[in-house]
């Protein structure tokens, strides 16, 4: 007990008042500090796990030049503010906030710490010291949709959504359009569970979709629980955010992997070099931010070929799943033949394409 009284008292209380001063004089020798706040636990094997993997890759790439700190399970409410403030006060000079719901909180804390840089994932508000970054996940959804269209025997596929936000709407639309491109009769059943990470709720919703006749189910939530259910039921699914094949070796057809490492490495390097600027990133398959995992060995060759064609198309810039004609649920023409939806329209999309039924 005597051990901690002295040393840690200095650390805890002294740090509060003296850290800005200490930091300034000792900075040259100390590693550059980078903070992260995560929505889920790093062990979710999905969204947060992928961000944490990116953090570890960045740390490995930059070696001793950088020191990272993360906080997991940060709620998207006012309690994110003190956590962001803490990270800034503890000397982190670049802070990544990895969920949409931190947007206003990041901007508020960024105002208090003009010399600290922030990067907010999936948001749309920027400031001089706040960047935004995102991935074109819908490109991966176009690949999994293509596979689902090929694999489904019933012609009914499922989509387990979280919230009705543009990213999810974009995802289910891309999934459905790609599936319809290989099988025009495809119908997609959609369930929203109002949560990103809730294995019990995710399983229950997957069961609902299976009961509605879906034999391939994609998830837009973060845990492997839906896949485990698919495996038990003998139907198919996809990993979300990371390769989840070890949780359901039979059901796991492939996965959309979020690759954040290169972005984190590049941005931390820029911050260290002093070339960091407030920007907006939206990378996809071409840039390597979205990756499709190895296919399940049981997946038929023609399905693999069709999926590869979509991937190659995105890499070459010759394919876009959001190419007209696209109709909405009511049958109204939203995108004319030959036209493409711009990223600006996609970023605010709130309508579903024809063939999607909200269950």
């Amino acid at each position: 007990m005597t051990k901690f009284t002295r040393r840690d008292f200095v650390k805890a209380v002294g740090a509060a008042s003296a850290l800005p001063l200490l930091g300034a004089s000792a900075q040259a020798a100390e590693p550059f500090k980078v903070g992260f706040i995560f929505l889920g636990p790093v062990g979710d094997y999905g969204w947060t796990w992928a961000h944490d993997k990116g953090r570890r890759e960045m740390e490995a790439a930059l070696g001793g030049a950088v020191k990272t700190t993360y906080v997991e399970n940060v709620k998207e409410d006012a309690s994110a503010i003190p956590i962001l403030r803490d990270l800034a006060r503890q000397g982190n000079k670049l802070i990544f906030a990895t969920s949409f719901g931190y947007m206003d909180q990041v901007l508020e804390v960024a105002k208090e710490f003009p010399d600290v840089r922030f990067e907010h994932c999936t948001g749309f508000k920027r400031a001089a010291n706040v960047s935004t970054y995102n991935s074109r996940f819908h490109e991966g959804r176009a690949v999994t949709g293509t596979i689902a269209g090929k694999v489904s025997k019933s012609g009914v596929i499922g989509y387990l959504g979280s919230f009705k936000i543009p990213e999810v709407v974009m995802g289910v639309n891309a999934f459905t359009l790609a599936a319809q491109a290989v099988n025009p009769k495809i119908q997609t059943k959609l369930v929203m569970i109002d949560s990103w990470f809730d294995p019990a709720k995710e399983t229950a919703a997957t069961e609902t979709l299976a009961n509605l006749g879906c034999d391939v189910i994609a998830t837009h939530t973060d845990s492997p629980a839906p896949l485990q259910f698919c495996q038990k039921k003998g139907i198919f699914g996809f990993g979300q955010g990371a390769d989840m094949s070890k949780f359901a070796p039979k059901a796991h057809l492939t996965a959309i992997e979020d690759i954040w490492g290169p972005h984190y490495t590049a941005r931390v390097k820029a911050a260290i070099a002093g070339t960091w600027k407030s920007e907006d990133f939206w990378d996809g398959i071409k840039e390597g931010a979205v990756k499709v995992s190895a296919y399940n060995a049981s997946l038929a060759q023609d399905a693999q070929d069709a999926a590869n064609k979509v991937i190659e198309g995105y890499k070459a810039g010759s394919y876009d799943v959001f190419t007209g004609p696209i109709y909405d649920q009511g049958g109204a023409l939203k995108v004319k033949e030959g036209q493409k939806m711009g990223l600006g329209d996609l970023a605010t999309i709130d309508w579903y394409v024809k063939g999607i039924q909200s269950a």
Partner: protein, 361 residues
């Protein structure tokens, strides 16, 4: 041979006050052992969890902002607890309070004036109170247990929230994300009261605690609440209306939860799907830990807030997992409830005589 619990005639007053304190100390020692066993720096983890939030002036504000809603809701609940009327749905009333205030904000978006904030608070409290009145109707007219109905209305309130922010109240500049427009400067309380560094929420919590103290200890209403709880039949002979108490305690606790919702909305500055974060449920623990006494509730709210804030500090400094804060809250609750039992009952080893009437086994 069996163990049985025998009620003590007069639980020791000293022990009733001392057990929560002793529990906290016991948990700290246990924490050092657990963390060391897991390979972390045990003493430092416990230090960060329990002392940094108290000693670091900069963290007081975080503790206060976490404690204020817990205390306000728990004070409301404590009144019902004394009458043995259990409002489990404070989370729903908290959400309704925020919805009411957000409704005022929606209408007054382009207006300014000192009256907007009081109106938001008033409407929020009214919404919370009326939302809690639904379980009161069900209980007094149809005999439905308020434990079940109040809990179920939490889920209804979540649906209502979801409908409003994805539909009619959706922020037109929000890129179709489900959230309301940001509150204007005329719609939020200042960050601190008269530049004193005191959070308005905590000041309000303190005032509410004093008011509740006066109500409970100095008014006939406070007496009737306790009477109904401790001896319902006697209270009825005494002329107190048990239905009236059901209505009053539920609506008061609803109004308090609504007030907390309004204050939290002003901190977050908009309603979104992340808004309901469980204060209404945690406040139930706070009211029980505080033994449903206004001073106890105030202290319990601060202690629980400290474990939250300390959990975050420990995560960033010692890198212990986030689940630790929850672990400590659970251990604390367990220790207090267990010692409570031992203060009120004594353990007797009984050789082969059947349990007698009125005894727990």
């Amino acid at each position: 041979m069996r163990l049985r619990l025998e009620k003590r005639l007069e639980p020791s007053r000293t022990m009733l006050v001392m057990t929560p304190v002793l529990s906290v100390i016991a948990i700290m020692i246990l924490g050092v052992i657990i963390f060391d066993g897991l390979g972390y720096d045990g003493p430092q983890a416990v230090w960060e969890l329990f002392f940094t939030p108290v000693l670091d002036v900069y963290k007081w504000r975080d503790v206060a902002s976490k404690a204020a809603p817990l205390i306000i809701i728990a004070l409301g609940l404590s009144l019902g607890n004394q009458a043995k009327i259990w409002n489990i749905g404070a989370e729903g009333q908290y959400i309704l309070g925020a919805i009411g205030a957000a409704g005022v904000a929606f209408v007054t978006q382009s207006m300014t004036g000192f009256w907007i904030i009081p109106l938001m608070i008033l409407v929020g409290m009214t919404c919370g109170a009326f939302y809690a009145a639904i379980p009161a109707v069900l209980r007094t007219r149809y005999g439905v247990s308020e434990v079940l109905s109040s809990l179920m209305f939490v889920y209804v309130s979540l649906q209502l929230l979801s409908y409003l922010i994805t539909g009619p109240w959706k922020d037109p500049d929000g890129h179709n994300f489900p959230q309301t427009a940001q509150l204007t400067d005329a719609q939020v309380l200042p960050h601190e009261v008269w530049n004193s560094g005191i959070l308005p929420g905590l000041l309000i919590a303190l005032i509410v605690a004093i008011i509740f103290y006066i109500i409970v200890s100095r008014t006939v209403f406070g007496f009737s609440v306790r009477a109904i709880g401790e001896a319902p039949h006697a209270a009825r002979y005494g002329g107190f209306s048990s239905n009236g108490i059901v209505w009053a305690t539920l609506m008061i606790s609803g109004a308090m939860a609504g007030l907390a919702g309004v204050l939290e909305l002003m901190q977050l500055t908009r309603l979104n799907l992340g808004f309901p974060s469980g204060y209404g449920f945690t406040a139930i623990i706070v009211s029980l830990l505080g033994r449903s006494h206004p001073i106890g509730v105030f202290i319990a709210g601060i202690v629980l807030a400290i474990t939250y804030v300390g959990g975050q500090v420990a995560q960033t400094v010692v890198h212990v997992p986030n689940a630790t804060a929850g672990l400590f809250q659970a251990l604390l609750l367990f220790a207090i409830l267990a010692s409570d039992l031992l203060v009120r009952y004594r353990v007797r080893i009984n050789v082969s005589s059947p349990p007698k009437e009125g005894q727990r086994s």
